[in-house]
């Protein structure tokens, strides 16, 4: 065995606090290390060339690079040695930058630590076995979860590229948050007017299969071959018959149903079509309010329905779809206003959220575009907008900025002036965040052209006074307390992850941050990938985003899927569990602990039962290996012997 070791200076990053020459010198003393050298930037093109040269010149058969984190460059160097004819798994990295040079100040101790890190890597690499990927067919269908603007964009881009798309939307219509908006900033064009055609495209695209009012029940499989269980929730209306005529909605006697689409700004009927432009435009019954369900009798809609589409007996249905990649575009939610008691959120009807106000502004909304106070339906004249309602507030666990509130508040203030010319809007803000194209100009217009009064400062309290709401806050620019008696208060409520985001992440095997937003592979360089291959992110499920960013990510995720699907076969990661059938005793404890159901029992010719790994399902966690008492199932590249070699390299010195 001839191990070659390359110790990287990383400019001054490593060499600054580690004596790399000493590391090379000590490493060279290890039997089995045939070659050890240092290099300024090993990851550079000439650095990689040097490795390739040395492999040939010194007849090296194992390579160790001591440099940065393997999470950074392991793949780079694996490719390098593969080009030089070695199996890519004959490689180990010793992390002497992030784990040594950057965190320790004592050069001597750092050098010692680096020497030992290399020693461990050498010990491990000597145990490494060549591993070979096997390839498997890709199912070139894609699942898009979420029919908001990001999801729709992703679905359309994929479909236009010729891929079959399964689009799953949990609410009865696609459109998401954008469908609820009146206008968009900074252009102030009609939101549904630009979204509507996309929604229609989604509905009509021959490559897109839409499951509205459906949820992801279960995800099994792996990149290239997922089995998705989708729950089609009962609508109690046979959508194959429903024409969306709306007759049922008109006649429905239950008139106090909660209107989720309008965020409860006004009630709706127990049977309803969420909004006029809904796609699909189909009715559904809310059994919580429907008298047929609550009282056991009514049946008005069934009688009235011209196509006899009503079916009170309908139950949830599970369907299975098979896809090769998943785009997650599950969007966001808004903080529950009750969590903002100082603003009277949820307590005073005339303190509403921005999205509710959006519905009031909207011509197809419950007030037909007339701005009225929820309490008495009078037109407000003094309107106060409060930005950062919840956002940037560590005390309630939302340390981040919700990204687009400043902009929509400016927009809403402008629209308010359009709707009610004699009104006066005030905006309490902490900073105005308007870094997008044309954004800052827009906020200035609100102030300069529309006379919106911007007050820099936090609102400390909102309380009722007669018919008015008193907004008390600080004006930090003037250094004074301000109190405004408002007719209506609009809160720029914080964007939060969906309440089921964590649950969804667990189904997808992707990570989420402390706020529940999904974690991308790399914050700069891999913004729409996740650490689970085959699963991509688009839109606000990854973090608060405005429309153009969400659309951009939808397209980006789609292009990632296209790239993934450009090949017919995918290479599997060979660093998966493997069973030694000679020593497996068939106790099948691994089967019970495998988080991926990737292990089955198999009967051999001689009648013995052993464990059998489904290569493509195994994700390589190694739980089986630490479960197996007889060491028969070994996670390749992290076998007991490989880890023991590292332990021994440290303990046997």
């Amino acid at each position: 065995m001839r191990v070659g070791v390359f110790i990287c200076h990383c400019g001054n990053n490593i060499a600054g606090t580690v004596d790399v020459a000493k590391v090379a010198e000590e490493t060279r003393k290890i039997p089995g290390v045939a070659y050890a050298t240092t290099y300024m930037y090993t990851c550079s093109e000439p650095g990689q060339e040097e490795i390739k040269e040395a492999i040939k010149r010194e007849k090296l058969d194992r390579i160790v690079v001591a440099a940065c984190s393997p999470r950074m460059h392991e793949l780079t160097f694996r490719r390098t040695i593969e080009k030089a004819g070695l199996n890519r798994y004959f490689f180990e990295m010793a992390n002497i930058r992030e784990h040594v040079s950057w965190i320790g100040e004592n050069r001597e101790l750092n050098t010692k630590k680096a020497i030992e890190a290399v020693r461990m890597a050498v010990a491990k690499v000597m145990q490494n076995k060549p591993l070979y990927s096997s390839s498997f067919k890709i199912n070139k269908r894609v699942l898009v979860i979420g029919g908001g603007v990001a999801g729709m964009q992703a679905a359309l881009d994929c479909a236009d590229g010729g891929l079959e798309v399964v689009l799953v939307e949990k609410s009865p219509s696609v459109g998401g948050m954008m469908a609820r908006l009146d206008k968009t900033f900074p252009t102030v064009d009609c939101s549904i007017c630009i979204l509507g055609p996309k929604m229609v495209d989604v509905a009509q695209h021959e490559k897109i299969k839409l499951y509205a009012f459906s949820e992801i029940e279960d995800i099994k499989g792996y990149v290239g071959n997922y089995q998705i269980k989708i729950k089609k929730k009962a609508t109690y209306v046979d959508w194959s018959k429903c024409t969306g005529c709306g007759a049922c909605m008109e006649k429905c006697p239950s008139k106090n149903a909660y209107d989720a689409f309008n965020f409860g700004v006004a009630p709706t009927r127990a049977i309803n079509i969420p909004f006029p432009q809904a796609i699909p435009k189909k009715a559904k019954i809310d059994p919580k309010y429907c008298r047929q369900f609550t009282k056991g009798k009514c049946g008005v809609c069934a009688k009235i329905c011209p196509t006899k589409a009503i079916n009170y007996e309908m139950v949830d249905e599970i369907v299975t779809e098979e896809v090769g990649a998943i785009i997650v575009a599950t969007g966001y939610s808004l903080i529950d206003m009750e969590k903002l008691p100082e603003y009277g959120g949820g307590k005073y009807p005339d303190v509403i959220s921005g999205i509710q106000y959006e519905r009031l502004l909207n011509a197809s909304g419950p007030t037909a575009g007339h701005i009225v106070r929820p309490s008495d339906h009078e037109e407000p004249k003094t309107i106060v907008f409060v930005s950062c309602a919840g956002s940037r507030d560590k005390s309630i666990g939302i340390p981040y900025c919700s990204n687009f509130c400043c902009m929509y508040i400016a927009k809403q203030a402008i629209l308010t002036k359009d709707h009610i010319p004699d009104s006066q809007s005030y905006v309490f803000y902490m900073d105005i965040r308007s870094p997008g194209k044309g954004y800052d100009e827009f906020t200035r217009r609100a102030q300069e052209e529309y006379g919106v009064h911007y007050i820099r400062g936090r609102v400390s309290r909102i309380y009722p006074k007669g018919k008015k709401m008193v907004v008390r806050g600080a004006d930090t620019l003037l250094g004074t307390q301000v109190e405004i008696e408002a007719d209506l208060v609009v809160l720029g409520t914080a964007v939060v992850a969906n309440s089921d985001a964590a649950h969804m992440a667990e189904k997808l095997h992707i990570s989420y941050d402390t706020s529940g937003f999904y974690v991308e592979s790399h914050p700069k360089l891999r913004p729409v990938e996740t650490n689970t291959s085959g699963v991509f992110l688009a839109g606000a499920c990854q973090g608060p985003k405005d429309i153009p960013a969400s659309v951009g990510q939808g397209s980006a995720a789609a292009s990632k899927v296209q790239a993934l699907f450009s090949k017919d076969m995918l290479e599997s990661d060979p660093a998966i569990a493997r069973v030694n059938i000679n020593t497996c005793v068939g106790c099948l404890k691994c089967v019970s602990t495998c988080p991926f159901q990737a292990i089955k029992d198999k009967e051999l010719k001689d009648g013995r039962v052993v464990a059998d790994v489904i290569e493509t399902v195994c994700a390589g966690c190694g739980v089986c290996t630490s479960t197996c008492p007889c060491g028969a199932i070994q996670l390749q590249h992290f076998t007991d012997n490989q880890l023991l070699a590292e332990v021994n390299a440290l303990c046997q010195m």
């Binding site: 001839r2 060279r28 290890i30 045939a34 007849k59 046997q652």
Partner: protein, 351 residues
Amino acid sequence: MAPAGFLSKKRMEDFLKEIGKDALVHVPVLEGNVVVFRPYGQNQTINLERPANAPPKAVIFPQSDTFFTFRFIKDPQDPKKVSVEINPPSDFPEAIIFGCRPCDAKGFKIYDKVYIEANGPDPYYMGRREKTTIITLACPAPSAGCFCTALGGGPAEKDGSDILMTDVGEGFYLEPVTEKGDKLLKAQGVAQLIEDGAKYGQEATKRQKDTHDSVKKPFESINYRDLSRDLFDDDRFWEEMVSKCISCGACTYLCPTCYCFNITDEKTLEQGERLRSWDSCMFKHFTLEASGHNPRPTKFKRYKNRIGHKFLWYPEKYEEIIACCGCGRCIRYCPVSVDISEIVSNLRKTE
């Protein structure tokens, strides 16, 4: 050879201290409920009442023994060139086994044939054997499962011992058996502790005989030719005899005559050693080949080999000596009480 001597029990500790001056003395010590051989030292309860749970064979044939250590030597000019330096042990310590039983001592005689006589001396075995003196205690009483007399031995068998002690009440009657034993008794410091044994001879003989007569005999005597080869090669016989065997190595590891071993290497990055360690023919992997093939895949085949080895092949090769000393440990300590004497008894030709 010096005449028999007498060691008073009161002087036993002095005796052990004296002989321990030049050698490591291994004595049977009571620990909890078991008797084990330990180097003689402080705070020990020496127990001579019953045979030790494990025989003292590890004194001469350690359970793991270093054949040699090795070190990789790198060529300072060319790091690709690595040579190896091999270092076998240069010497073995003087040792004395005190208070083992005649069957234990006889075990070494069975070893000697293989490890010294037949194959050229095994340097590790012989190195220790030559430097070990065996002071045996004639069995004061048989233990459960003992059957030494059926195999031609006996609780006062001298063959294998250097000195035979017989408990005669207030002390031990000491008979030198070999030159080595004789020398030990004549050594100045020791000789001072030994009295004339003449007057205890009769008592010793009586006690020896009493014990001899009380040892159970599952069969009168045995010769390897007496065993039925047909039965031996009949799978059903083994199935009936050893279905209950759980394939552990207690019988072989406690056996004074079992001598099979394994050789394994251990190393760190820089150095290592080649070890000899006890192995057991009862283990499946004993004969398991790298290819997965195993000539003795079942416990029946393995047990058959064990009996074959002790009662057929060893005697066929070595002067008809049965490679079993009848100490009974494999019976006594078998987790499921497999009885080797019963099996051999059943294997005898019925005429």
